[in-house]
């Protein structure tokens, strides 16, 4: 029985060679699919760089980055991006004021206090909140949150930063909570038990031992949440308005970088004009900011995980 096969030489026959070629082909196709992600990044960078380049031949980079008037569609035109940045910043700060404390407290509850059963009930709620489309939050801001704010502060404008900030905060809340939860749970049990053995209460263990140990992971999740808030588009387009201005009054209408891009793409600005190219300049800035925040946060997270693994 086995005698028959022992006679055969081990060397690859024609059949093996054929199947080896097939294997190599499959491997190559799979590689191409993975490599597509690199191509995507390169295309984003190439497109933004190319279009932004033609914009910056007309407008000086310094004027763009330091100008405080953004009126590219009106005469006299002015291309200072700072009002859009200020609007975005206002949304990010407002959203962080909600997402950071609430997200962190939820994460502490999930990681340190809640039973397995409560976790199983709460996690899906957070997942559902995270899965609600941003346009829905925009609608919610416009038709629910804004009237609510206006009932308290009558001077509130129909479009205002506060209402958009609140819904963006709710939107990035699940992500903040879930990332903080991961960071807290990465802290080894032995550290907690060591502190409990010294007679510390749960509160002291959480605040003095667990939180400091998880700090870099927690901070990284804040950065990721802020980056998400910066890139948020539909809620701010619907609720925050289209008035680029340098204000810190949350009850006034403002405009974010993302909302400006939408405004131009919805309008009838002729393609190829410098007015139209502004969206690429703004998108380049947006991409650069979010990408660097993400890279930093991922670096910090990677180092954080190394410490405890």
């Amino acid at each position: 029985m086995s005698q028959g096969s022992t006679a055969k030489p081990l060397l690859a026959g024609a059949g093996t060679r054929k199947s080896r070629t097939k294997e190599e082909l499959i491997r190559f196709v799979l590689f191409l699919c993975a490599f597509l992600s690199i191509l995507t990044t390169l295309s984003i960078i190439a497109i933004l760089a190319w279009e932004a380049y033609s914009f910056f031949r007309e407008v000086r980079v310094l004027d763009f980055l330091s100008g405080t008037r953004w009126t590219p569609l009106l005469e006299p035109r002015s291309f200072g991006v700072l009002p859009l940045v200020a609007g975005t910043l206002q949304i990010v700060i407002g959203a962080s004021l909600i997402a950071i404390p609430v997200g962190l407290a939820s994460a502490i509850y999930l990681a340190e206090f809640a039973s397995a059963g409560v976790r199983r009930a709460l996690k899906p709620v957070l997942e559902i909140l995270a899965g609600i489309p941003t346009v829905v939050y925009g609608y919610f801001a416009l038709t629910f949150v804004t009237p609510l704010i206006a009932a308290i502060f009558p001077q509130t404008q129909i479009f205002n930063a506060a209402s958009a900030s609140i819904v963006v905060g709710i939107m990035v809340l699940p992500m903040t909570a879930s990332l903080c939860d991961d960071a807290l749970r990465a802290v080894p049990e032995s550290l907690r038990q060591g502190a409990f053995a010294l007679g510390a209460t749960q509160f002291e263990v959480t605040l003095r031992v667990v939180l400091p140990a998880a700090l870099s992971g927690v901070m990284a999740s804040f950065v990721l949440a802020a980056s998400r808030a910066i890139g948020e588009t539909m809620a701010v387009t619907l609720a925050a308005g289209a008035t680029p201005k340098m204000t810190m009054n949350p009850l006034e209408s403002i405009q974010t970088m993302t909302a400006y891009i939408v405004q131009v793409s919805l309008g009838d600005t002729p393609v190829g004009t410098v007015e139209y190219q502004t969206i690429f300049a703004v998108a380049t800035l947006l991409f650069a900011i979010t990408l660097s925040m993400n890279i930093i946060a991922h670096r910090v997270l990677a180092r954080f995980r190394e410490v405890y693994e």
């Binding site: 029985m1 086995s2 096969s5 022992t6 030489p9 081990l10 060397l11 690859a12 093996t16 080896r20």
Partner: protein, 265 residues
Amino acid sequence: MNTQTTPDAQISPAAQSRSVLDVIDLTIRYGTKPAIRNVSLSIPQHRITAIIGPSGCGKSTLLRAFNRMNDFIPNVGMEGQILYLGSDIYAREVDPVEVRRRIGMVFQKPNPFPKSILQNVAWGPSINGFTGNLEDRVEQSLRRAALWEEVNDRLHESALALSGGQQQRLCIARALAMEPDVILMDEPCSALDPVSTARIEDLMFELKERYTIVIVTHNMQQAARVSNLTAFLENGSLVEYGETDQVFTRPRNQRTEEYVTGRFG
């Protein structure tokens, strides 16, 4: 070509039988740490060869070198040769897939695929271009693995519903369905109860009529019970290799004696 280059009785104690696998001055490193050091030995046909030694001595590494399963571990370095029927299984033109088709393996923990019993046994032949009657092959393999009587009425049920011992015999049947020359067994009974272990040991006796078996075991009684030849490995070096009777009753080396009499390890 190299099948007869074994003048030393210690390397090839069973000169009366043709050797299937020849290990020549084999060294295997994980990174820079050697796991196998300058081992040479020959595995004779249709015999059961046991590899014993304290844990961490490199017995599994050596076994996995025989069907190139070490290829999947990153940073493994290898020097020396392993010849299968005279040809180097690590030669550049050799496809490891071809090697594994001839040299089957049974693992420490039963690892049936999460599919039906039938699919578990039939998969090997079907991916390797088997053209005969697949059902006959499945039945034959299950019979040889002494499992047919227990499962023939539920071939389409999940293999995971079987007991641990049955799962391990299914894994043996799965290997047999490939009609290999050699079956490598890596502590095949370590996860099983004594009754299942005894069944598999009986099975090995029957199987050696047709197949060459190499078994790694940490259980010296098992090595003494089932094997014809025993190789004792320590710290990656081959300390002694000979007829099982001789290794266990009249060891030539003092370390071997200390190990088989249970003074260490």
